[in-house]
Subunit: 598 residues, 2 copies
């Protein structure tokens, strides 16, 4: 096996440093100090030190052992990417970091940790665990990888734009007023915004600091009297934005990012109470509050629920975004069906759908890296195509494409499963069962108060009956020109947040046959009130996504009357909304594939 000198050298550097500091180890998680799903390239420290490029994991570097912890979906990839090193891969569903430490550490040791890379609740939990298990967690002042990794450490410098009322629907003034009322009600003086989506939503601004998400990597402190301290590189803010924000509040101040901790210290020293969300606030920020008992108020972000309930402008916007997305998707599906199989491959297809979206007005970026998986690659739930894995299409197998866009009007996310050539009887059966699951959820009615935990079983039930299942959630919340995965609600076991009118969620049951193919049918849906809501308290889903579901994969004999009606109406509705916005060839094709089955 080829030795990976690059990675080994980096680990050796780090180890010498730890030794000098009399530390026995260091843990580097994948996340950066914003604790989000996506990390800017120059903060991909886990990848730099280990070679592992997956989206979740952490490395524990001890003097005699190196363990990379990640979840089951990255098992193969993690082992491949760490070849030629001494890194062992451990799957967290089998052994968590804490369990590993419990079982493997005999003598008292000191493990160092960067407090910016852990939420307050998470690191508190680590420290508590350490106290009971002979492990001292040492809170570092500086990230040790940054001592060796020479790279451009400049903070993002992309343009920041106003997200005008045309798209945001509600002024910052109004949002601020609601937030401050919550603060007053909970007897706190200031709230530290650590969630970048909450910040962008509150200030009605959007940026391009991440590849797939139009947020800005910055933080703010909001005071109960509507004063705003924004911590950001001043030069990024155009005069028009500063003017807008000054118009929204009496007191708007900008500080350099490195002033944040000083300000928090000052506020808490003046005996004011500071609200932090323990799940999204880095430990480094929370620990700065002096006298935590009297000056810290721990509770969920007071913005996230309001942000998740889309206002009428955002709802209208989402419909517009889905229409544009539908045009791109219909053109894509037409292209896919009309191109000879042997001319197709995964990269080509991914580029095609990405480029078709780019042509749409107000398109900002894809909302995540397009998943374009043919045959066995489609069975890898978090597959990302590369030159190495790129599969040429062949006849009679299944292609899975999961993609989405960020438009000024809203965020989209859709998965279509397409047969290339002819499906087997089994493929049709499996696809149809997944479709039954999708329809069961899409057509559910449920009373106010119902949470994603309750609804999850509605989608799984038809699969379980057929001895099928999927190892991921059924649906995730979606932001409005923000994160494609944005809660706090989701449709998944354990999610206790009640769904509310105006929330958008995905509906994406699937079925994955290892080494064969993957099936997933994903639409976005919005929660709406039943027409007679005042009396019956019932909510329902309205599907937003507009792209035909492949009839060739449906075994209609397995559908009951209501299910047939649903799929006929769905495809017909796609035709009605999209057919006049595509060229004649596509329109004619669309007419055929959207025709109701009798």
């Amino acid at each position: 096996m080829k030795i990976n000198n690059k990675i080994n050298k980096r680990i050796n550097c780090l180890r010498s440093y730890l030794k000098k500091q009399r530390l026995d180890g260091y843990i580097q998680p994948r996340t950066d100090s914003f604790l989000g799903e996506y990390v800017p390239e120059n903060d991909e420290r886990l990848q730099w030190i280990s070679g592992f490029s997956g989206s979740a994991g952490a490395i524990l570097i001890l003097m005699n052992k190196i363990i990379l912890f990640t979840d089951g979906r990255y098992n193969i990839q993690a082992n491949n990417e760490t070849k030629g090193t001494n890194i062992e891969v451990v799957i967290t569903s089998k052994t968590s970091i804490q369990n590993w430490l419990k079982n493997n550490i005999k003598n008292k040791i000191k493990i160092s940790i960067d407090p910016w890379l852990y939420s307050y609740s998470n690191l508190k939990n680590y420290i508590h665990f350490g106290l009971n298990n002979n492990i001292e967690f040492i809170i570092l002042k500086k990230n040790p990888i940054d001592l060796f990794w020479k790279r451009n450490r400049n903070k993002p410098n992309n343009a920041i734009n106003r997200h005008t009322l045309k798209y945001s629907g509600v002024t910052t003034q109004k949002k601020l007023s609601d937030l401050c009322q919550k603060m007053i009600k909970n007897k706190v003086d200031a709230y530290v915004i650590s969630q970048t989506d909450s910040l962008a939503w509150l200030l009605n601004i959007r940026g391009a600091d991440l590849k797939h998400t139009p947020i800005i990597l910055a933080r703010a402190i909001i005071f109960k009297n509507k004063k705003i301290f924004l911590f950001i590189n001043k030069n990024r803010l155009k005069l028009s934005i500063v003017q807008y924000l000054k118009n929204q509040t009496n007191d708007f101040k900008i500080f350099q990012e490195n002033k944040l901790l000083n300000k928090i210290r000052e506020i808490s020293k003046s005996n004011k109470k500071i609200w932090i969300d323990p799940i999204s606030t880095p430990f480094a920020i929370a620990q700065t509050i002096t006298n935590k008992k009297s000056n810290m108020y721990n509770n969920n972000c007071p913005i996230e629920i309001e942000k998740s309930i889309k206002n009428s402008t955002e709802i209208k916007g989402s419909k517009i975004a889905h229409e544009k997305d539908g045009i791109a998707l219909c053109n894509f599906l037409y292209w896919l069906q009309s191109t000879k199989n042997n001319k197709l491959n995964e990269i080509l297809a991914a580029n095609k759908i990405d480029n078709l979206r780019k042509k749409q007005k107000n398109f900002l970026c894809t909302s995540f890296e397009t998943i374009s998986g043919f045959a066995s690659n489609g069975a890898i739930v978090h597959y990302r195509v590369s030159e190495k894995t790129n599969k040429n299409f062949t006849k009679n197998n299944i292609y899975l494409c999961d993609s989405g866009g960020q438009y000024l009007e809203g965020t989209t996310d859709v998965t279509r499963t397409i047969i290339i050539g002819k499906p087997s009887k089994l493929m049709k059966k499996e696809f149809t069962i997944v479709l039954k699951s999708h329809i069961a959820l899409a057509s559910a009615k449920f009373p106010q108060g119902t949470a994603g935990n309750d609804l999850d079983i509605i989608a799984r039930s038809p699969l379980w009956k057929n001895y099928m299942n999927y190892e991921h959630g059924t649906g995730h919340g979606v932001g409005s020109c923000l994160n494609v995965h944005e809660g706090p609600h989701r449709i998944s076991k354990g999610s206790l947040i009640p769904l509310q009118p105006g929330m958008i969620t995905s509906n994406e049951p699937g079925f994955y046959k290892k080494n064969k193919y993957g099936i997933r049918i994903e639409n976005l849906m919005i929660v709406l009130k039943d027409k007679n809501y005042k009396n019956n308290n019932l909510l329902y889903f309205k599907t937003l996504t507009l792209a035909p579901i492949d009839r060739k994969l449906i075994d209609y004999a397995l559908l009951n009357k209501e299910e047939k009606e649903w799929i006929n109406n769905y495809n017909l509705n796609v035709y009605k909304n999209i057919s006049n916005k595509v060229n004649l060839k596509v329109k004619n094709w669309l007419k055929i594939i959207c025709k109701p089955h009798k």
Copy 2:
């Protein structure tokens, strides 16, 4: 309005007593010191002091106000039964006792309470509430109602019988050994059994201390070395039972009931740790433990889960019990259909089904008071017929009958909804939607770990889609020749206990039209492992109840293929199992009504 002198006098007596004791009030709940669902007549203190005979509630007697708290289903009844008194009725779903006190008590007051009538966790909660709300809860030594209510206070004296291995399946020795292992694992020295069903199950004995439940009103202390202290009137135990129990353990002692607290005090004084279930143990028992921090272990009853998982003898027994029940039910339904409407009334019907059950071998008693509700009475969920409310049957309306039996082999509970005459189109639609709900749950498959909270929505979903619902749980656990309502599992929002193979639960969705009629379809089901459980971890329900579901109320056009198959198979299975055990007339009738619909 006629003044109710009897009740008013009783309340006055109690008030003078409270005054003398310098107390400002007293709360009397409906329950007795065994905290169960059923209360022996001579412990119906709430009824004695208030006149209210419902199965849930509590009265708060203050010097200037008397409030009867009960839930919505008893609203009308409670108001009727307290006429001619100064008792105000308050519905707990709108205002709980604690909320009422919070809103109505301004100055510091002392409210007395009988610590035998509240669970440890419940009364602790009250005391804590009082501390924050200016209310001192005074723990009484003696129940004040017992000072005035002259009645036979003798403890139950009914025969106690062995529940032999033929019916129980597992020896006390084995059950005891499992229990003691749990105690050792949790580092406790003794467990106080307060749940009468747990006691009967562990000792393999049954009694007749309650009208509908073959338990014995007694308690025991079990020590980790398998020593048993049973607190009961010695004379009730036949020699054969004593001999059996002495054979099961090295050390079996009987004490008078009033020795229990002394023994608990002794044990805790010797610095032993005592396990109590805070939900089912009266506060009076728990408070006896000295030095609670070190000597008390609070956790769920260590018997209840094992008791709920029926062993193979109990499962076989349940099938036999359901066959007998099926014979009684088929005879009943035949009688109902072949008797002229104008000859029928609710009492007659209830007596008929009760008598048909009595004829079955090993029948002990009905498992609850038969609910026999014609037309609008069927819409009252907890209806009990009386001479006053008894309705004569008329044409073209619905009759609802919910009944069950206690057999040595097992406990049954079944509801059938029957059309008398011809149904309207709407009745058929409503009945069929309830049937769809019933079938959805009955035919569900679900992975190990799924709780009743998760499954509840499967039954409600078809109803919600049609703007229907029911204001009760979907299913309750059922004991084996024990309580008809016996958890810890149930199928209901909020129930987090995972269903396990061997558990029995009811499946009883319904729909109630106030002042018109009620619909409910209830079968018992047992949880079983899928044939391929080792690989797929899936469980399913097998229905136990054997009584035809009324085809005249089914609109087959509303059923899909699987649902039609289910109902055809269900009725056919009833015919197969019952037809050779009833007379020819009934058999011929059964053949027609169980014939599959095409």
